[in-house]
């Protein structure tokens, strides 16, 4: 833009690389601004909360404040919780969620693919699945505590019922929407029904299934936490229940923060696995 650039005996290349340079710089600057704005927003919200709570505008007893929550996390990390070390509590909850998630995913995928492939099964079971799906499944958690006791089995059960349905419906849909050409091609090439299911239907349903895996791990955590909250001897959910019972608002929030970190870490692992599995996909749709 400047007159020097125009009058200089520079080749087009120089101008171009100059442009590319300034464009890259602008992109970098934009990234930095976004990151800064994010941090500022967080600081502002936490700061406002702290200030409002300290000045008594909102009741610090009910709403607690960030510094107290931080203290609570610090105490749990350094000195353990009333139930034992914090790590052990996280591990218990994570284990229940993980086992429930795996069971729910496996059963959901298997039955989804089976019903997607076998029209007879789908016709017979379809209405029942709809009915089961319409039950708000979170109310099953107390029943599971009655059935399976205070141990981890009842939490796993509530995680399973929460995970099963979204995974099932996605796998079912995925199996139904397989490209008919691919199935026809596989049959012409000589594939048996079993091969078609294993080597055509399941691979093409994987992207549907993975979509549900992201959501469903969150559901598994919810199942485990609610189960623990209702009745347990260990776990983050119990920590929430106990903090609530002792009017320790900071404890409830601290448990929430810990859960958020756990859920984000799990999500990151899943995304990583997905990238490895979907190497065959064009990168634009893989995002």
């Amino acid at each position: 833009m400047s007159p020097e650039v125009l009058s200089a005996p520079s080749s087009v290349d120089v101008v171009k690389s100059d442009r590319a340079h300034s464009r890259a710089r602008a992109a970098r600057r934009r990234k930095a601004v976004v990151a800064l704005a994010r941090v500022l927003l967080l600081v502002a919200v936490l700061g406002l909360w702290e200030v409002l709570s300290r000045t008594g505008t909102i009741d610090p007893f009910n709403f607690s404040m960030p510094s107290k929550i931080w203290d609570q996390i610090h105490t749990w990390v350094m000195h353990g919780t009333a139930l034992g070390s914090l790590g052990a509590q996280i591990w218990v909850t994570l284990q229940e969620a993980l086992v429930g998630w795996i069971l729910g995913v496996v059963s959901g995928v298997v039955s989804g693919i089976a019903l997607g492939r076998v029209a007879f099964l789908a016709d017979v079971l379809g209405p029942y699945i709809k009915v089961l799906n319409s039950i708000p499944r979170i109310v099953l958690a107390p029943i599971f505590v009655i059935w399976f006791g205070l141990g981890s089995a009842s939490k796993i059960a509530s995680a399973v019922v929460l995970v099963f349905f979204p995974v099932f419906f996605n796998a079912f849909q995925g199996a139904r929407e397989v490209d008919r050409n691919l199935v026809a091609n596989a049959r012409i090439l000589g594939a048996s029904d079993r091969r078609v299911t294993l080597q055509v239907v399941i691979p093409s349903a994987t992207s549907w299934i993975f979509t549900s895996l992201h959501v469903s791990f969150g559901f598994a955590l919810i199942g485990a936490i609610v189960g623990e909250y209702i009745g347990a001897t260990q776990g983050i959910g119990l920590l929430v229940a106990q903090s609530q019972g002792t009017f320790n608002a900071a404890g409830v929030y601290a448990a929430m923060v810990i859960l958020a970190v756990v859920a984000l870490a799990a999500e990151g692992l899943l995304t990583f696995a997905e990238r490895r599995i979907f190497r065959w996909k064009p990168s634009d749709s893989g995002q």
Binding site: N181, L182, N185, I188, L189, G190, A191, V200, P203
Partner: protein, 271 residues
Amino acid sequence: MSAEISPAIELRGASKVFRTPAGGLHTAVRELDLTVGRGEFVAVVGPTGCGKSTTLTLVSGLEEPTEGEVLVAGEPVDGVGDKVGFVFQQDATFPWRTVLSNVMAGPRFRGVPKAEARQKAREWLARVGLAAFEDRYPHQLSGGQRKRVALAATFVNDPEILLMDEPFSALDVQTRALMSDELLELWEGTGASVVFVTHDLEESIALADKVVVMTAGPATVKQVFDIDLPRPRKVESVRLEPRFIEIYREIWESLGEEVRITRERGTAHVA
């Protein structure tokens, strides 16, 4: 003995009626009689949507005829047999498999040991000029390259009967001519019988020994023309020969009428 004499494909009074989603009946093919000799290259032309593709699915065993008989090598068709290869109009390569693995799929499905399947697949990939691409995934290839993968994946099974449903219609004109030449080269080495469905009359004359003109839907055979152009042919040059133009004019007289009928129906439908 009778298998020696019997033609590669025979349709006798074959009809196919589909149930439409709305609950009505749609006749795609009616009373179709068609014979394809062994090693013969037959092109089927007709107006778009007249039911040409249905004919192929009947021969392949993917669909059963509602009425009539379909014989392959003198035997009634019962399900998908192992003599048939099918090249689809749309991409039917498995996107999650590499190029090599796609070509290996057929032999592997048929129980050929892995090492042997790999060797056969490599041979065919070399023949279609994709030896350097065996580790790529289909989305990393061009449309023409994907079609070559489909051809290799079909030929690797040594089909006695090759069914092709407008295989090159999605390609640009230059690639299409190139692929047609390659197809002729590949086919001449195998002695397979080919049924090649297309709506492109030029393509059908350039490729085939016999051009079958279908009526407007429901499809049945209207007329059969023998193409007496000498082989080997090159698609780009054969279409400039006077005899080619003569044949073209002759067949178009028959086909053009059906195209007109289809078009009029289309406009009537819209109105």
